[in-house]
Subunit: 314 residues, 2 copies
Amino acid sequence: MSAKKRPATTATRTPTVTRAPFDLPEFLAANAAVVNAALGCYLPRATTKPATIHKAMRYSLFAGGKRLRPALCFAAAAACGGTAAAALPLACAVECIHTYSLIHDDLPAMDNDDYRRGKLTNHKVFGEGIAILAGDALLTQAFAIAAHAEGTPRYSPRDLIFEIAEASGSLQLIAGQVADLEGEGKKISAAQLKYIHERKTSALLCCSARLGGMSANCTPTQLAALTDFGYHVGLAFQVIDDILDVTQTSEQLGKTAGKDITAQKATYPRIVGLEKSRKIAKELTAKAFAALKPFGGRAAALEALAHHLLERDK
Amino acid sequence: MSAKKRPATTATRTPTVTRAPFDLPEFLAANAAVVNAALGCYLPRATTKPATIHKAMRYSLFAGGKRLRPALCFAAAAACGGTAAAALPLACAVECIHTYSLIHDDLPAMDNDDYRRGKLTNHKVFGEGIAILAGDALLTQAFAIAAHAEGTPRYSPRDLIFEIAEASGSLQLIAGQVADLEGEGKKISAAQLKYIHERKTSALLCCSARLGGMSANCTPTQLAALTDFGYHVGLAFQVIDDILDVTQTSEQLGKTAGKDITAQKATYPRIVGLEKSRKIAKELTAKAFAALKPFGGRAAALEALAHHLLERDK
């Protein structure tokens, strides 16, 4: 029985612990609304000169992304007793980084994708030149937004900038895309695929969780737990993405299904098979849950998110 | 007579003021050496995995750039009584931003240039995908490097990040490239050309001077003077670039000469003629010199740099 529905007469001075199930859809919707409003304010208007670039930036940023990275950031902040307000600039910065990486990944010189989130990709609408610049501008904007974060006694504003730059730099996010690009059409090992997924997907998800904790002035122990959690959720997330690419239709995904097969891309199902891929995803999620132990009951949002990421069908 | 050569016997307790002419080549060489050494440390080694991206980043970053933006940063710091050590991370960050912008500008979807600084452009050596990512990585690295700057009583580390993000974002550096891209093959006015040059060239040069001042905890008056100086030097610099493109050979320039004409690009000589372009460059430089008045004798390096930028032949 949820706390909301419990009749007033049952209230005592030592109430029974009846934890309400965490309302993830409500959490995601509320946070997405906050993030969208803030991003709308941080970015120049679509009519600001030169209008093309601001239209292109907003086109991809407001293309219906699920705002999972900001949600992870807020959930981690909550787990460490922090507020959404303190985490907000960091959540927005990470979403800008994510969007820029998608725009550039979709380019003809990279994955050459025509659709993303059910809409034409940035370069299909605005042309390659503007798409490259829109990605550049979102990446630049990400750091301007992150610089709005105040910092805490344990983590200075500079630490927060380092954190974002490291996760999205040439040793992490970009390294993943480079290895992915170089691996296309080649036979790669499961270890190499893990290297790609760790960097291309896990790094920024892990960074999102860490930034949330840092905005709440988390302890070193909490930061280590969030790192462990983010790393495993991130890897699981990507394995599931690979699985969905072979099991779902383009309509269900909102992007071209089977694209990875057509591009001769290395994926978990292709290298270890579909069933083993599902098993790996479940194991990774179990490790993610185990990482949450130090937070006790305060990690409800993080737990719910991990379940959501494993059970999603698009 | 320089202070160094003056015989010991002429020394008195109130020495005559005999200012040595400022040795700009020495200043440029010394600062370039410091910047190159620091950039070499800040960036991952060329052998760090994935090696391709680090080779590509270093290829363009160490392609013989003149390090004018770092020089401007150091000169501005000196004019405000600061040190090169405090300005160093900012000087390196600006050079990374400049190099990333060149790599992306040279891409086939942009200016489609095969040569830069006498060497093949990044995408001609590493391919388009890696060139895009090398630019992204340098842009990201720029903020990581800038976050090493300590800040001063008047300017926090966050102010320095904002400064760089603003100058290189969608309202300045990127706006210039967008307008340039959209203006190709079209008849544009002198005012529109000025808009492009202000953003594509002047913004980052102005930012370099401002950052140097900020690293020295400059006063608001000094910052305004540096802004005025950087803006006018930056515009003059670009007008001269336009002039050199029509008056010099490819060999002299180290890049494809006459490229602007071939690409039907709007340039000062094309819109207002060669003689008027030269006159404009001189007027802009005069305004830059006028801006240096508040610094008195301490602006020797800035003055020498301005002369150098107007008198260069490549």
